[in-house]
Structures are given as structure tokens and as C-alpha cells.
Amino acid sequence: MIAININKKLHGSSGAMLLEVDLHIKEGDFVALAGESGSGKTTLLRILAGLEEAKGTIKVADEVWQDTKTCLKPQSRGIGFVFQDYALFPNMTIEENLLFVAKDKALASHLLELTGLDSLKNRLPNILSGGQQQRVSLCRALMNRPKVLLMDEPLSALDPAMRTKLQHEILALHKEFGTTTIMVSHDPSEIYRLAGRVVVLNHGSIIKDGTPKEVLLQTSGSQKFTFEGELLDLLQAGVVNIAVVSIGQQLVEVVITQSQAKSLVLGQRVRVSTKAFAPILTQE
């Protein structure tokens, strides 16, 4: 069990903000931290890692990482940290990058084998693709068999295909090592695939906490197929009207009645929804 109860005053782009988190995480869980930028996700991760100070307590199993008397240094906390920008040592080979953390050749070659990097172990990081470098970074984070693996948007710099591939590898590594993992992510499909629990931060506080489906599925009553968008246009079409709505990067059209059209204002936020029975799913 990880018991986190911390607070810290932050000065973000939107003024002062209090990061206040009381969170218990079960051993072996994979937790995603979501929320808008500036909500305190990365700061929370850095506080857990001991890279930033905060008030309060952090306990991992029977060990106190932080309370009023103690504050363990990052290297004493038994964490692995994966950053968005890989942060590999450029002058060390792939294998040396791993062995720098722990002199365990057997574990290094096992990890490199699991991630398909064993043939590249004697190369320098700069010849690797972004996806390969992030794999090395992931392997390196597991070299000291951490109690907690912290990942800050580890896949956000990669293209979608590489992202999916690495998601499967992260899942495989999580199954094999059972490391308690906390990952900052913005990507709903990534969160759904990897995490068993999502914690959403907003302005420094936890506003949602549940399974990915509970937290991420947009619903409106019994309508399970719901998107939020902006009303761009209303077109007259005989006895009905057509609402043109922008959702994400796409435009959709919805037929509505004249009386509903009268109550709408262009530019307003609207919700487009239908029951899960109605949409047609086709393969590309």
C-alpha cells in the first residue's frame, strides 16, 4: 500500500493553486493520473520521486518516504522514473545505461530481450529511434527493481503505431514485474488499455477516481455514445433543422426539430449522444 497525503502551494499560469492530494494505492496497481495541463500531475509525480518538496506524508508499505522528520533522497526511495524525453546517457551504450542503475547483467539482458533490444545493446542511444530510446528508458527504470514505477507521459512524443506497440510492452512488463505504477497520461485509449484505475486532478485536487470505464466513458443518462462539441451552424431543411457540430477534429451533422433549433445559439457547447444500439461500426 502506498499512502500519500501531501500538499503544496504552486504558482501556475492561472495564479496560485494548492496541490492537495490524499491517495491510497494498492501494491501492484497500475494507476493513471489524468487532468488538464497545470492541474498538478507532474508535480505530484516529482514529489513522490523526492525531486520536489511538499508538506505531508508519503508511506510505501512499512517505509516512511516523507513525514515531519524524514525526507528520503530520490535515490533511497526505490523508484523508477520514465520521462517523456527518455533522458538517456548519450556517451554510454544501451547496456551501460542499464548497468549504471544496477550491476545486474542477467536482469539487463532479460529486459533487453523482452523489449527486443538485445541486438542493439552495444550501440549508443543516438542511433536509436524515439520508440527504441523510450524502451531503453523503461528498461533502465526497472533495473533497480523499483517499488514504484513513475512515468510522466512516457509515450506522448511517439507516433500512434509506436505508442500502441509500447503500450503492449509496458503491459507485459507490468504483468511480469508486478511493479506498482503511476503514469501521467492524456490519452484515453492508453489509459483504458494500461490502467486499472484513473485519478483525475483538477486545479490541484482529485475530482474523479475510478476505473477507466467509469471515469472516461462519456454518458448522458442511458446514452452511452456521447461527444461534446461546439454548435457551428443551424440549417433549415424543410420541417426539420440540421445542426452542424464540431467534435474534436471533425464536423458532424445532426437532424433536430425546429423547436429545438429555436432554443440553440451558435457557438454554444452541445452534447451529441445516442444509445449504444444505434451507431454502425465499420472496419477501415
Binding site: A237, V240, A278, T282
Partner: protein, 133 residues
């Protein structure tokens, strides 16, 4: 998903709406749509799609409903779940599926070889593919 081939025989467009008539199963079926895609013109062959949850089954043709698309079909099978039933139907050699409540299936006492009428709402039919122009 129900899909079947149809030929466009008429298109009427007014403001942003179109009413498209198809020849299918030896009769006319209508679809109402917003803008029409490329290749959708009189004489084109298309694949029409209809979600099984939106295919209605009646024991006999009816004039008391607003649904104009009514097609004779034969029940091939009726698989009952606890709450829902999946009814497989044959129209000529095309198989269609209708998902209805178990209660409705019991009330209609649907069984193999029954003659029934299937009803399709023009607003729920869609063109999934244009085959030829």
C-alpha cells in the same frame, strides 16, 4: 449489421434533405438522408445498411404504422436470450437479422418458416457503399 444490395431508381432533393428510392427485393424501399455521397445517382448500385436493432418485425403487413418500407420475409431462426432475441430472417436469398426484446419474440411466437413482414424506417437506412455508377 444487415447489408444488402439495392439499385437507385429515384432521388428527390429539397433544401438539405434527399429522399432516395431503391429497387430491392423486387420492390421499392425509401431512404431519407442529408447530403448524398459521391456516385449516389439514379442507376447506381449500392449496399444498404441497417442496424439489426432497428429492423422491426411484424406478423403481417400493416397500414396503421407510419413506416412505408415493408418487405415480406421468412423466419430462419429465433434465438432467445434472457432479455433479447436475435431473429434471423430470409428475404429471397438475403439473410437479415433483427434484435428485438424476448418479450416481443414470445408475443409474436416467432418460429422457423413463419411468414413475417420486416419494417425499415427510411431515416435509419443508410448507404454503406456505392458499387457502380
Amino acid at each position: 449489421m444487415n447489408t444488402f444490395e439495392a439499385k437507385i431508381v429515384a432521388i428527390e432533393t429539397h433544401e438539405h434533405l434527399s429522399l432516395v428510392d431503391f429497387e430491392v427485393f423486387g420492390q421499392t424501399v425509401s431512404m431519407v438522408s442529408l447530403g448524398l455521397g459521391e456516385g449516389v445517382k439514379v442507376g447506381s448500385s449500392v449496399i444498404l445498411a441497417l442496424n439489426p436493432t432497428q429492423l422491426i418485425v411484424a406478423k403481417e403487413p400493416t397500414t396503421i404504422l407510419s413506416i412505408t418500407n415493408q418487405i415480406k420475409a421468412t423466419v430462419r431462426s429465433c434465438e432467445n436470450g434472457i432479455l433479447l432475441s436475435s431473429v434471423k430472417l430470409l428475404v429471397g436469398d438475403v439473410e437479415l437479422e433483427s434484435i428485438i426484446t424476448r418479450e416481443a419474440a414470445d408475443r409474436l411466437a416467432l418460429k422457423e418458416h413463419d411468414s413475417v413482414t420486416v419494417l425499415m424506417q427510411p431515416s435509419e437506412l443508410s448507404i454503406s457503399k456505392v458499387l457502380s455508377c
